[in-house]
């Protein structure tokens, strides 16, 4: 049988970089084809070639065996290739139906035929197993999961034969992921092919049929069975080296017992997010918070940090009570936050690495308001070297750095400030597999230097491998506290899922 889509020897140059350097990809009708690769391996560029947004410099694309050229996004859509991007490209102010038919409205003489369009939209939503979504509803009021369904309905409205999904699970909670998988299975049962991109190996094992691995703009492996290929082999293919021990050594259990408590949280409550949460972290200790998205993990960090004002409860840092709801007070007390959305919440993207590091400590370099820029630069350099931020030139714009190095710059900011307590919200999000181990090492060495750390991560193995102690949250309440070595992933998943509908 001829594959539905064949790409052969695809190359794409950007000024100064070869983004794709001979990619081969074959996708059969009705399969879930997984695309794996580190950040920068060329996945995004390949998707954009498929979507008609980039034109390849070399190579051939065949559709049902016939050569085609996808000269524009419209051409790709007409051919039957639809792409669901990570940042969903929907318009919040329009209705569900208007979003589905955006650009190919059901219209006569320029007038939108609202009822026809709504009816057609409803049909698509039913086909996706979501009859409860009202086509006339305004999109902005829907959850991320709902928006994703709308994106898929839009793909189907174009009669897509191939749907490309770029990290679709990144915005979803785990029960929503289950629903996404149900929809994907239904699509493939009807002969639609799905190209599925995700960093999460567990998902690929569950939903995928075959795997293609990209590295440095080339296909390094194709036609791997998704369920049975050993993880070691996949990681080795992606990184080009054997999967070594990624987590740094931990101190013995209980070795922090005698050390002072840096953070103590008592009965903290933020209505609608979490209730009566109590926890503590000692000097040099890493505490991991696990739970589903929406279990209140990030909100707890943000409340401790003063970004939300709790309705009840107390936070003490080094024995002193912290004024609630004030970030400046938290920073003064020695707390630092590395937020979940690095680019939008932590970094000054227009600024240099040095300025990103010094921004929280500017007062130290000021005399009558004037900045001693030499001292500032020297200190910023010292801390960026300490964490091995690369490239080493701290005058570079921070946006030119990779995700892992940007995260290091954020950590260096708090290192320079000299903080006692670091709150890390999804520190490895968007950081590729190879760079994660390095980040783990940095986090552990910060703890060894006496900083107390609270770690939030959606990836349970990461928390279990890195933290000393784990607090498990479900629906905003603490359900278990345990030594990280005394609890396994299965137990945690049991705990967080119990009572939920899934």
């Amino acid at each position: 049988m001829t594959p539905l889509l064949q790409m052969h020897g695809i190359a794409k140059d950007f000024p100064g970089v070869r983004a794709l350097d001979g990619v081969d990809l074959q996708v059969r009708a009705g399969e879930v084809h997984c695309l794996l690769g580190q950040n920068g391996a060329g996945k995004s560029t390949l998707i954009k070639v498929l979507a008609g947004a980039h034109q390849p410099d070399a190579g051939e694309i065949r559709w049902r065996g016939e050569p085609v050229s996808l000269t524009s996004p419209t051409a790709a859509v007409h051919q039957g290739i639809a792409t669901i991007y990570q940042e969903l490209d929907l318009v919040d102010g329009l209705s569900v139906a208007e979003n589905i038919y955006l650009g190919h409205e059901q219209a006569r003489l320029g007038f939108v035929r609202r009822s026809t369009m709504n009816a057609a939209a409803r049909e698509l939503l039913v086909r996706l197993g979501h009859p409860e979504i009202e086509p006339a509803r305004e999109l902005g009021s829907m959850s991320a999961a709902g928006k994703q369904i709308v994106s898929m309905a839009r793909a189907l409205s174009h009669d897509a034969q191939v749907i490309v999904m770029d990290e679709p699970s990144a915005v979803l909670a785990s029960n929503e992921v289950a629903n996404l998988f149900r929809v994907i299975r239904d699509l493939t049962a009807h002969g639609v092919a799905v190209i599925y991109i995700s960093h999460r190996l567990a998902e690929i094992r569950e939903i995928g049929d075959r795997v293609t691995v990209l590295k440095d703009g080339r296909t390094v492996a194709a036609d791997l069975p998704a369920r049975t290929t050993p993880t070691d082999q996949i990681v080795a293919l992606m990184t080009g080296r054997a999967a070594a021990q990624v987590f740094p050594a931990r101190p013995e259990p209980g070795s922090h017992d005698g050390r002072p408590e840096v953070l103590k949280v008592d009965g903290l409550t933020l209505p609608g997010a979490f209730h009566d949460v109590s926890l503590h972290v000692r000097e040099g200790e890493i505490l991991g918070l696990v739970g589903l998205v929406g279990a209140g993990r990030s909100e707890i960090l943000e409340t401790v940090y003063g970004a939300h004002r709790p309705s009840a409860g107390r936070v003490t840092v080094d024995g002193k009570p912290l004024a609630p709801g004030r970030v400046t007070a938290a920073v003064r007390a020695g707390i630092g936050l590395a937020p979940e959305e690095r680019k939008s919440q932590a970094l000054l993207m227009h600024d240099s690495v040095a300025r990103n590091i010094s921004v929280a400590s500017l007062g130290r370099y000021a005399r009558l308001g004037f900045i001693d820029r030499r001292a500032e630069l020297l200190d910023a350099r010292k801390h960026s070297e300490e964490l091995d931020v690369r490239p080493a030139d701290i005058r570079r714009d921070v946006r030119t750095l990779s995700g892992g190095n940007q995260q290091k710059a954020v950590l260096a900011r708090w290192l320079l400030r000299g903080c006692r307590l670091l709150l890390l919200d999804e520190p490895t999000r968007g950081v590729d597999v190879g760079a994660r181990a390095e980040l783990y090492r940095v986090i552990r060495s910060l703890a060894d230097s006496g900083v107390a750390i609270v770690l939030v991560s959606s990836e349970v193995p990461e928390v279990l491998g890195l933290a000393d102690r784990v607090v498990v949250l479900r629906e905003g309440r603490v359900v278990r506290e345990a030594d990280a070595r005394a609890i396994d992933e299965h137990t945690i998943l049991d705990l967080v899922m119990k009572g939920s509908a899934a």
Binding site: Q345, V359, L362, R395
Partner: protein
């Protein structure tokens, strides 16, 4: 780690934000900078581009009106006309880099000049006039800042309300009349006359220069300036880094109000009167100058030198057209074209940034 440390104990210069300096860095260390097309580099040295435009305009002046354009009188006139909008543009540059906008500057100038020239104010003498103008300017800025920073009103809305309200109040106070500066306060008006020129430079131009220099230092050498860039570039990140975003935003509008107060005094000196018609459409001239000077309307990036050049470009155009007896209509068209071209160049620079 040694490749960038330079001579021991002598760290290399920090990127100054100024496009000019950025360009200098680029030539000094080509290895650490991105390469780009000639177009892209033109964007990088946008201020130099503006200097070029200014030179072209001067050449046009020299060729069309050789005797008149280069005369001392004309050059002094250009600088004097530039000085008032120039001072306002300094405040506007801070506000826009900080991620805001101030549409009320013209109206603040109107109310400040009116309030500073009422009979009651004038009875306190020259310093009474100066003090009142500054206080009214700062007060209006304070109201703007409180509404925007603490009342969470969008800057566009809050300052447009001030635009309407302040000018209305100015009309109310002056009852639509022009209030001239009385004889006892003649000393203030005298500052506008030739006899007060210092080495041939009018006091107004000196005030302008001082404001620009102080503004440049504030923006590029102090924590206040650094925080302005941070807050405009990414307000969320600035807040989570522990900066007091609300207070800083308030201060930005107060600063803009202060600049309006200073500009009001200058306007009273120049016209020896105060009227509610003063400062009409100054907001547009100031914003236009800031934007063609390379400051991003979205905040987080910009230079004061660019804004000053922008003001000079606009004033020189006006002067050229007046010298050549061309209608103000043509003059407006030329201004419009310059704004569009400047923004298009800026867009290219932004697009280039987005790619990296």
């Amino acid at each position: 780690m040694t490749e960038h440390s330079g001579v021991a104990g002598q760290p290399p210069p920090v990127d100054e934000r100024g496009r000019v300096e950025a360009a200098a860095l680029e030539t000094a260390e080509p290895a650490t900078r991105r390469t780009g097309s000639a177009w892209a580099r033109l964007g990088e040295v946008r201020n130099l581009g503006l200097v070029g435009v200014l030179l072209l305009l001067c050449l046009a002046g020299v060729f069309t009106k050789p005797g008149q354009f280069l005369s001392v009188n004309n050059l002094v006139l250009i600088l004097t006309l530039a000085s008032i909008i120039g001072v306002i543009s300094v405040g506007m540059t801070f506000v826009i880099i900080g991620g805001g906008i101030d549409l009320s500057v013209g109206a603040i100038v109107a109310i400040s000049t009116v309030w500073a020239t009422t009979k009651a104010t004038q009875s306190f003498g020259v310093w009474g006039i100066v003090f009142t103008a500054l206080c009214v300017g700062v007060g209006c800025g304070l109201v703007n800042g409180l509404l925007i920073a603490y009342g969470r009103v969008v800057a566009f809305v809050a300052t447009i309300a001030m635009l309407a309200g302040a000018r209305g109040l100015a009309i109310q106070i002056s009852q639509g009349r022009t209030q001239t500066v009385t004889t006892p306060n003649q000393a203030l008006v005298d500052l506008g006359y030739r006899k007060s020129y210092v080495l041939g430079v009018p006091p107004l131009v000196i005030i302008f220069a001082v404001v620009v220099v102080l503004g440049w230092i504030l923006l590029n050498r102090t924590t206040f300036g650094r925080r302005t860039f941070a807050i405009g570039g990414n307000p969320v990140a600035a807040r989570l880094a522990g900066l007091n975003v609300q207070l800083h935003t308030l201060m930005l509008y107060v600063l803009s109000g202060l600049c309006c107060g200073i500009a009001s005094i200058m306007l009273v000196i120049l016209t020896s009167s105060g009227t509610s018609a003063n400062g009409n459409l100054y907001e547009l001239d100031a914003i236009a100058a800031v934007i063609i000077g390379g400051t991003l309307l979205s905040g987080g990036r910009g230079t004061l030198v660019g804004s000053v050049l922008g003001v000079l470009v606009f004033t020189t155009i006006s002067d050229l057209f007046t010298l050549n007896n061309l209608s103000t209509a043509v003059q407006q068209i030329a201004k419009g074209l310059i704004i569009v071209i400047a923004v298009l160049v800026q867009r290219r620079a932004e697009a280039r940034d987005a790619k990296t």
